[in-house]
């Protein structure tokens, strides 16, 4: 057991820090720092820079363009990204669909899709959940019926994050409605979002932002060559992806930076009784400390999981812990921010947190964003498999209940 970085790791840390300092666009950094919603172009611009450096596909095998980083290196990169307020990489392409393509796709599919993902030429979205199939994902009904060289797709997908920006969707569809188990009749298919018959309609979340969508398919023809792997085996491929989603969702380094921000803001915020700083209030400090303890434990749980994966283990059902605790911590930090804002949690000033706002601001830079962020972020414990589902996974796969 040893907690220290090696000299090589320290050098790597330096390199990463320097690269971000020199190449991460300042305008995007300012937005992230100030809670301004980034644009589609911001994401693409930064991902292209990262990819030029070869640092986009952290988890891909080296042969496909991955970094080959050790768990410790990935941890260092996460730290440095959070430290420099680096805009997050949109996961749908590089983190989610790509591993499915390079693991289960054929050579032609790899050639066709992976380079565009690396170069952020194509924006992907996820077609998993349906209005009638949330936690019970395998109950999905969107149908794909083979007709000549195409599949004809009908149905509705929901909670499609940034689907209105997407050019392609990876999608779970039912190809065998008569399969004895509902998991067995599902296929994994890639869909060009410009295909006729697709409608993308917004779902506003509690911050009144358009982030998620409903996507309707009305006799949409999709070439059968877009099917990944075998027909009716999609559930297997999808599960791989869900595990990847779970391990990345803990967001430890991001939460650490946010918690530091809570601390420094609390030093400048008056206490609730207007006397002294909120940071001197032992109740507030204790809440921060308890969140920090949970977060520290989570950080080491994540490191242990990554170490186990690196030494040959799979990211097992324990990764459900990362989802549960990671979202609990995020949401606890959201609450601390609301408390920091005091009466200035009350005004709703959506425009202030978008590009091009010119009016007079209400409140300090963060204050009026705390409510909407807190409300919207309740999704964290719901999306990606609710925390109840994650507990169920622990019960079944770890405790054998």
């Amino acid at each position: 057991m040893n907690i220290d970085f090696t000299q090589e790791e320290l050098d790597f840390q330096q390199e990463v820090r320097q690269f971000f300092a020199e190449h991460y666009p300042k305008d995007i950094q300012e937005k992230v720092k100030n809670n301004i919603h980034p644009t589609k172009d911001d994401f693409i611009r930064w991902q292209k820079i990262l990819n030029d450096k070869g640092w986009l596909a952290e988890n891909w095998p080296v042969e496909y363009g991955g970094t080959g980083w050790t768990p410790t290196q990935k941890y260092i990169v996460q730290q440095e990204k959070a430290r420099a307020h680096v805009l997050g990489t949109i996961p749908f392409g590089v983190t989610m669909v790509a591993p499915v393509i390079y693991t289960y796709g054929n050579e032609e599919q790899k050639k066709r899709f992976l380079p565009d993902i690396l170069e952020s030429n194509v924006w992907w979205c996820q077609g998993y959940s349906e209005p009638g199939a949330g936690s019970d994902l395998a109950a999905l009904k969107t149908s794909a019926v083979r007709d000549g060289d195409d599949y004809v797709i009908n149905g509705t997908k929901t909670w499609t994050t940034l689907g209105h920006w997407a050019e392609w969707m990876f999608c779970l569809v039912r190809t065998d409605p008569d399969a004895p188990k509902k998991q067995q009749g599902i296929s994994f298919i890639l869909i060009d979002m410009s295909s006729p018959g697709i409608t993308v309609s917004p779902i506003l979340t509690l911050d009144e932002e358009r982030e998620v969508n409903e996507v309707h398919f009305d006799n949409v023809r999709v070439p059968a060559v877009n099917l990944i792997g075998e027909e009716n085996k999609g559930w297997t491929y999808a599960k791989l992806l869900l595990t990847h989603e779970r391990t990345s969702i803990a967001n430890v380094q991001n939460s650490k930076v946010r918690l530091e921000s809570v601390k420094s803001l609390a030093k400048e915020t008056p206490a609730h009784d207007g006397e002294g700083a909120l940071w001197e209030d032992e109740l507030f400090r204790t809440k921060v400390a308890n969140v920090e303890l949970d977060l520290t434990a989570l950080e080491y749980t994540e490191l242990r999981t990554l170490a186990a994966v690196a030494s040959g283990g799979a990211p097992g059902p324990e990764s459900s812990i990362l989802k549960i605790k990671g979202t609990e911590v995020m949401q606890a930090i959201d609450e601390l921010f609301v408390e920091l804002a005091g009466y200035h949690a009350v005004p709703f000033t959506r425009a202030q947190y978008h590009d091009g706002f010119e009016g007079e601001r209400i409140g300090d830079w963060f204050e009026t964003n705390t409510g909407p962020h807190y409300f919207n972020n309740r999704k964290q414990s719901i999306f990606g498999g609710t925390n109840e589902i994650q507990k169920g996974i622990i019960c079944k796969a770890v405790l054998g209940l």
Partner: protein, 377 residues
């Protein structure tokens, strides 16, 4: 000891609940929130006609009620329907301050216009540096001949954007934290030097941040005596706490009902959610929170009405405990509704928002917990 409502209170409760369930559906409310005014004038006039706007005031003040238990009945019923009309701002905050402070003749004109629904008012007390301490006041009113000149800034003025008259708390003497030397001024909102940044609040009400730059007022603008506003405002804050605690209870009761109903219809894995025991127990805990909140509210209202020695501590106890319950019940209702819970479309998230903001008003849970703890001796 008697926990039952009076006959009048029961009638009032029934009529507001009927209004909420029959005439206040969520889509209509959404349209009101998105309208320029932010609420319905028709509703407001109806509230006035039915005497609801007078229920916050004693008969002496021209009203029809005025006890904390009256306010409790009204606000709990409003809370069930997430009523957006500015009852709190007019009848509890502004009206309450006038009732506590104003001279008989001021009451005659000002209160009558509130009770009659003819004038919109707001109480501007909060300042950024003050957090929840109303004595911490930097806004100043300087004597100027017969009148006053006001300077300062106020935040989160509920109904501040719509108010015809804004009651502004300002310092006529003393230092930043002094309890003495605070005075209240009735400022017509079109007075020169009064600048309003109007906004919708995150929970769908309207509010404003206000700047006062050399606002000239006649002597008659002073509400009541000079320098005597602090104790009066403290009582207003206590009553406002009871009011929003009752509203929160109404919110929570509705959330519990909606969550239980949803759980009986939404199917996952071949069963309705109500089949899953882990979720069942969480709904049982929501029920317990509602019941305990109801008890705290009754306790505080009864102590307030009895002018008990520890009435303010009782109010803090209720605000703290109900703030905790509100967070828990609100978060659980959203979580148990799954993805739908975080959509703007469904009403559940809006109840959750209101509960969140109620905790932020008039001192959050921790503020009142500290006030309570300090009183433990």
């Amino acid at each position: 000891m008697d926990f039952s409502l009076s006959e009048e209170q029961q009638l009032l409760k029934d009529s507001i609940e009927k209004f909420v369930s029959s005439d206040y559906d969520f889509e209509a409310r959404r349209d009101l929130v998105n309208s320029d005014l932010g609420y319905s004038e028709a509703h407001w006039n109806m509230f006035a006609e039915l005497g609801w706007l007078g229920m916050g005031f004693s008969e002496e003040d021209g009203g029809y009620g005025g006890s904390a238990s009256d306010i409790m009945v009204i606000m709990q019923a409003f809370g069930k329907g997430l009523v957006i009309e500015p009852f709190l701002a007019n009848c509890i905050l502004a009206g309450g301050a006038i009732s506590e402070l104003a001279s008989a003749s001021q009451k005659d004109s000002l209160l009558a216009s509130i009770i009659g629904g003819e004038q919109q008012m707001a109480l501007a007390y909060a300042e950024k540096q003050a957090r929840y301490n109303i004595a911490n006041c930097l806004s100043r009113a300087e004597k100027n001949g017969d009148g006053y000149v006001l300077n300062g800034a106020k935040i989160a003025v509920l109904n501040g954007g719509n108010a015809d008259t804004i009651l502004v708390l300002a310092r006529t003497s003393g230092d930043q934290n002094d309890k003495a030397g605070l005075s209240l001024f009735a400022v017509p909102s079109n007075t020169e030097g009064l600048e309003r940044a109007r906004y919708t609040t995150v929970d769908g009400f309207t509010g404003a941040d206000i700047k006062l730059s050399n606002v000239s007022l006649p002597a008659s603008a002073l509400v009541g005596e000079e320098g005597a506003a602090f104790e009066a405002l403290e009582r207003v804050m206590d009553r406002a706490c009871i009011a929003v605690c009752a509203e929160a209870l109404g919110n929570m009761e509705t959330l519990l009902i909606k969550t239980v109903e949803y759980s009986k219809t939404r199917k996952q894995f071949g069963f309705t959610l109500s089949f899953f025991q882990a979720l069942q127990h969480r709904m049982a805990e929501m029920f317990i929170e509602c019941q305990q909140a109801q008890s705290m509210l009754l306790m505080a209202a009864m102590k307030f009405d009895a002018s008990a020695e520890d009435a303010s501590t009782a109010v803090s106890a209720a605000k703290a405990r109900i703030g905790q319950a509100a967070k828990r019940v609100g978060q659980e209702a959203v979580q148990l509704h799954g993805g739908m819970g975080v959509t703007d479309e469904l009403d559940v998230g809006h109840y959750f928002k209101r509960l969140t903001i109620i905790d932020a008003l008039f001192g959050n849970s921790d503020y009142h917990l500290k006030r309570y703890t300090a009183a433990m001796g």
